[in-house]
């Protein structure tokens, strides 16, 4: 009975699953199934990860990556949301830019790193510019998509009461598009991190610091894999927490939206 109750608890099961994985990983190393020279043991990686948390060099790298990420994301929202509204509300503009976007969007953003390396002298500017470019697409597209989903009846209701287009935009279009924008920003956050770290990899030590630079520099060490896996663990923790925060914020802010779509399903 108690065992059943415990199995119903999500966090406990999750912790058990993680512990099981770490245990199996450690056991594989200890029994010689996987040689520690090929893949480090769990205990070594975890203690390395704990060490990194107190390592000033690593922390400054994390701060610099996250700083560029946050600035890039803010700029993305500032650029892509108004652009999405313009394109979404002026059909002529969408018709003119749509096909061009259709050709630009599939270009993998990291392919722009090599020319950017030539064009930019300041590597931080370059990192942020590329982040904004890559992260703008999901926000832009979700904004335009959300505008299309705005209930025309809600807009007409407001218009029938004599409100002007600005009021309609502010009171109907923006609130009902907001959940779509938020989902776009959540996607963009992941893309921004990918591009930021990729830039750091390719620009290397010449371009300031960051998690990517840290990994390149660790790559030369004899216990490089321990560093790499430990740093990836921390990156995973950061990504997991930030994604969780986004989801939580979305759920709180847009309860009306989730309730409605759940009913619709």
């Amino acid at each position: 009975m108690i065992a059943r109750r415990l199995l119903d608890s999500g966090p406990l099961c999750g912790a058990l699953g993680a512990a099981g994985l770490v245990g199996a990983w450690e056991a594989a190393g200890r029994t010689g199934f996987i040689s520690p020279t090929v893949f480090p043991r769990a205990s070594a990686v975890l203690s390395r990860a704990a060490g990194l948390a107190a390592d000033a060099g690593f922390l400054s790298c994390v701060v610099s990556t996250l700083g560029a990420w946050a600035i890039g994301l803010l700029l993305t929202v500032a650029v892509a949301v108004p652009a999405g509204f313009l394109l979404g509300t002026l059909p002529g503009l969408e018709r003119a830019f749509g096909p061009v976007f259709e050709f630009l969007r599939p270009i993998p953003s990291v392919a722009l790193i090599p020319p950017a390396l030539v064009l930019f002298s300041d590597k931080v500017d370059m990192k942020i510019t590329l982040i904004v470019y890559a992260a703008s697409w999901p926000v832009l597209i979700n904004t335009m998509y959300g505008l299309k989903e705005v209930d025309p009846l809600a807009k007409e209701t407001l218009r029938a009461f004599g409100f002007g287009p600005a009021a309609v935009l502010w009171r109907v279009s923006l609130p009902s598009t907001a959940p779509f924008i938020a989902a776009g920003v959540r996607l963009a956050a992941a893309v921004a991190l990918i591009v930021g770290i990729s830039v750091e990899f390719l620009a290397g030590g010449a371009g300031g610091s960051g998690i990517g630079v840290f990994l390149i520099e660790a790559g030369g060490a004899t216990d490089a894999l321990e560093y790499i896996v430990a740093a990836a663990l921390w990156a995973g923790v950061i990504g997991y927490l930030s994604n969780g925060l986004f989801v939580l914020a979305e759920r709180r802010a847009f309860r009306w939206h989730t309730a409605r779509t759940e009913v619709a399903r």
Partner: protein
């Protein structure tokens, strides 16, 4: 919802493209900046790089016949493997609440690791080459597929399952004929997300550790300050991305035709 026809389906919707190209040409010529060569220069460089071979090989050059297939092959191999693994595990996770309670948090954690971080890891684990790149793509893109498939398999209409149970379909038949088709729209959503991610990972893995492929060619052009070559390679990547997207959408439209139509009528 009003099923308005998308404007892009009308004939002549492509007119902005030549306009944009002409504007680009004029602007770059006026600026005269060597970093931004005009499109005509880029296109002639592209022709030179990939389409100046002998006629009996359809004018394809050596570079076109080695680098492009190498890249595309690794991309498709990694993505297809990820699709297979992700769908299988995702459906298992979606159908088993216990499994998903134990492994769900781990999966979400793994998804949160930025895929480029896999690069140094697999570079240390394997030598530089196709095996390393396919692994990076596989582990980088499997998570969205897995999570979406699990979501799809979790929300199968209970009446569909009851119908299958009432008519005594076996476990395998239920999985293949009821659960999988119900989850398929979500599986495809995951596959689409991961296709563009796979393209990114293909490029970055070739930029960092490769001796051939489109990304390697890009890096090569940059190192020799061949900017028309750099931009030409980027245009090629964009065209490849467009082609993959179009092929994927066509396949999705075919396979999920029942889904779109069924949702329109209800």
């Amino acid at each position: 919802m009003n099923p308005a026809k998308p404007p892009s389906k009308r004939p002549g919707w492509l007119w902005p493209v030549p306009v944009a190209l002409a504007g680009w040409e004029l602007a770059t010529r006026a600026a005269g900046d060597l970093s931004f060569p005009p499109p005509t220069t880029i296109f002639s460089r592209m022709r030179e790089m990939w389409l100046s071979g002998p006629a009996d090989r359809l004018w394809l050059t050596d570079a076109a016949l080695t680098d492009i297939p190498a890249s595309v092959g690794r991309l498709l191999a990694g993505w297809a493997l990820a699709g297979l693994v992700g769908t299988t595990l995702g459906i298992a996770l979606g159908r088993s609440p216990l499994l998903s309670r134990f492994l769900g948090p781990l999966v979400h954690f793994a998804r949160a690791v930025p895929p480029p971080l896999l690069l140094p890891f697999f570079m240390a684990l394997f030598a530089i080459g196709a095996r390393m790149q396919i692994n990076v793509i596989l582990f980088g893109v499997v998570w969205p597929i897995l999570i979406n498939s699990a979501e799809g398999a979790r929300h199968v209409d209970p009446l569909h399952l009851e119908t299958a149970a009432a008519f005594g379909l076996s476990r395998g038949q239920r999985l293949l004929r009821v659960v999988l088709p119900s989850a398929l729209p979500k599986v495809f959503a995951g596959l689409r997300l991961s296709l563009s991610l796979a393209l990114i990972l293909m490029v970055i893995s070739e930029l960092v550790g490769s001796v051939d492929g489109i990304g390697f060619q890009l890096l090569d052009a940059q190192r020799s300050y061949d900017l028309p070559g750099v931009w030409g390679t980027i245009v090629l990547l964009g065209l490849l991305g467009c082609a993959f997207n179009a092929a994927f959408l066509a396949a999705e439209r075919r396979i999920l035709s029942w889904h779109r139509a069924a949702n329109q009528t209800t």
